[in-house]
């Protein structure tokens, strides 16, 4: 079981992703804008963060950038999920450190597979880290 934060300003999408992920056995928290997202990121540890790009208060790229800049949280898996599909934005997101970029409309199955992969990578990375220690 893993802890996931979903940041999304479209209410329908937010609830839908939450429901799907819960069914898949994850612990899901939600944030409906950048402000709430930063609060929730400060308060808890997550394994994966799924974020939209355009929302009130702060955009998703800031979320990615802040997470990667934070030494404690830089290992969090980040999936950007947005309707923006232009090349510059996608490369920007990856350069800032997003692990994946899903363009809406998304495939629910694909999202779950990517999350699983991220979690798997993450746990193997963690093992590596602990072994080295």
């Amino acid at each position: 079981m893993s802890n996931i934060l979903v940041i999304e300003d479209d209410d329908i999408m937010l609830k839908a992703i939450r429901n799907i992920l819960r069914k898949d056995g994850h612990e899901v928290l939600t944030a409906k804008d950048g402000k709430e997202a930063f609060e929730k990121l400060d308060n808890e540890q997550y394994d994966v963060v799924i974020t939209d790009l355009m929302m009130p208060y702060a955009n998703g790229l800031e979320v990615v950038s802040r997470l990667r800049a934070n030494t404690e949280k830089r290992h969090v898996g980040i999936i950007v999920c947005s309707s923006v599909g232009n090349e510059e934005t996608i490369t920007e997101a990856f350069r800032l450190g997003a692990d994946d970029y899903l363009k809406k409309p998304i495939m629910a199955g694909e999202l779950m597979i990517r999350i699983r992969k991220l979690l798997a990578n993450r746990s193997s990375n963690l093992k590596l880290v602990t072994k080295k220690k």
């Binding site: 329908i12 429901n19 809406k104 409309p105 998304i106 495939m107």
Partner: protein
């Protein structure tokens, strides 16, 4: 009693008719203005009441609809288990709820399903479509199609397109030539998405401009619809006399990287309209059409500024390295700032050892403003 009243009115009228004309007009307008004001407030109150009721209803029905979609579609047990979508059955009891018979609920249901479809494709998207069909919502959409109001027709076409329901050619084709530009655009989009034979047929016959706003939707449909046969768009570049169709095709050629279209696009370099030529040059740049470089350099001196800038940009993305000298000359000796800026960018975009040396060399030999241009272009923080 009645007689008195009639007498009174009659007297009043007599009095009134004795007044000067402008006072009569003023009095008449006072009455009109007071009535209009009262009516206006009446309408405001009525409208607010109506939307209040509507909001209440939506607030009541939305959770029910969301639950339906969540239970039947998002969390459907059969998803992800290799069951064909067509074979998944919904819980008939849930679908039979009486509220789904009311027209306004059905409309909200359609709108909500479309919302979900905009967020989900794949199995979930297909299952949403099945729910739409199983609840006979396409009948509502088709009914709207018969409306006399064009915005209702458009809404119907949009709904059917979003839900991927085919509309017969007999119904949709006349609409693609409608005199209403918005209806025309919606019908064309539907036709592209839903027609199995010749989705791009109307590119041949369209005489009205394809508006930039409509191109957005069309571009999206062409690039995201599954199993659409992408033709070679150079066909229309060569033969269409409709400028907006040609410029739209240029964008599609660039998007699909249709290398075979290069000769047709190069033909446009001889076109009289310079905005058009600029579009063609930009397209060649995106295609990295090395074969076009020679011609672009040849015609460069006779072009207006916007085309010259596009040529420089294109050379930056083609980056064959053959014309660095040309770019260098433009950078050093052009009197136009934008030309120097784009020449510098083009050189830098080559990003070869040779080009990097050239940049260093230029940095040493040129004046302060040009040095600033180079620094600007080299800075990764400045994107535009």
């Amino acid at each position: 009693m009645w007689k008195d009243l009639v007498d009174l009115l009659f007297q009043a009228y007599e009095q009134f008719s004795l007044l000067p004309l402008f006072i009569e007009i003023a009095l008449a307008f006072i009455v009109i203005a007071i009535v209009a004001t009262i009516v206006a407030y009446g309408v405001i109150m009525y409208k607010r009441y109506r939307s209040y009721v509507h909001e209440k209803r939506v607030a009541f029905i939305s959770p029910i609809i969301e639950e339906l979609i969540t239970e039947q579609v998002l969390l459907n047990e059969n998803l992800g288990k290799d069951v064909l979508i067509e074979e998944i059955e919904f819980d008939q009891a849930a679908l039979a709820n009486k509220v789904y018979k009311k027209p306004f609920v059905r409309q909200i249901l359609i709108d909500t399903l479309i919302q979900y479809r905009k967020n989900f494709r794949g199995e979930v998207g297909d299952l949403l479509r099945k729910l739409y069909i199983d609840m006979d919502l396409q009948k509502d959409s088709f009914a709207k199609m018969k409306s006399m109001r064009w915005e209702r027709k458009i809404k119907a076409v949009v709904e059917l397109t979003q839900m991927d329901i085919s509309i017969s050619d007999v119904t949709i084709l006349p609409l693609t030539n409608s005199t209403n530009p918005s209806l025309r655009a919606a019908a064309r989009n539907a036709y592209i998405q839903l027609s199995k034979n010749e989705p791009f047929k109307f590119f041949d016959i369209a005489t009205e401009p394809l508006l930039p706003w409509d191109q957005l939707e069309m571009f999206k449909i062409i690039t995201t619809t599954k199993d659409i046969a992408i033709p070679n768009f150079s066909r229309w570049v060569s033969y269409s006399s409709n400028k907006s169709v040609v410029s739209f095709c240029l964008k599609l050629i660039a998007h699909y990287d249709q290398q075979s279209a290069i000769p047709a696009v190069m033909e446009l370099l001889n076109n009289k309209d310079h905005y058009f030529r600029a579009d063609a040059i930009a397209c060649l740049g995106k295609l990295s059409a090395e074969v076009a470089e020679e011609k672009m350099v040849r015609i460069y001196n006779h072009q207006p500024l916007n085309c010259q800038i596009e040529i420089l940009k294109a050379m930056g993305s083609i980056a064959s390295g053959k014309y660095l000298e040309f770019l260098k000359t433009e950078f050093l000796y052009s009197s136009n700032f934008d030309i120097r800026m784009n020449a510098a960018r083009a050189i830098i975009r080559h990003n070869t050892q040779h080009s990097r040396l050239l940049v260093e060399e230029l940095m040493e030999m040129t004046h302060e403003e040009n040095q600033l241009i180079i620094k600007h272009c080299l800075n990764p923080l400045i994107k535009y």
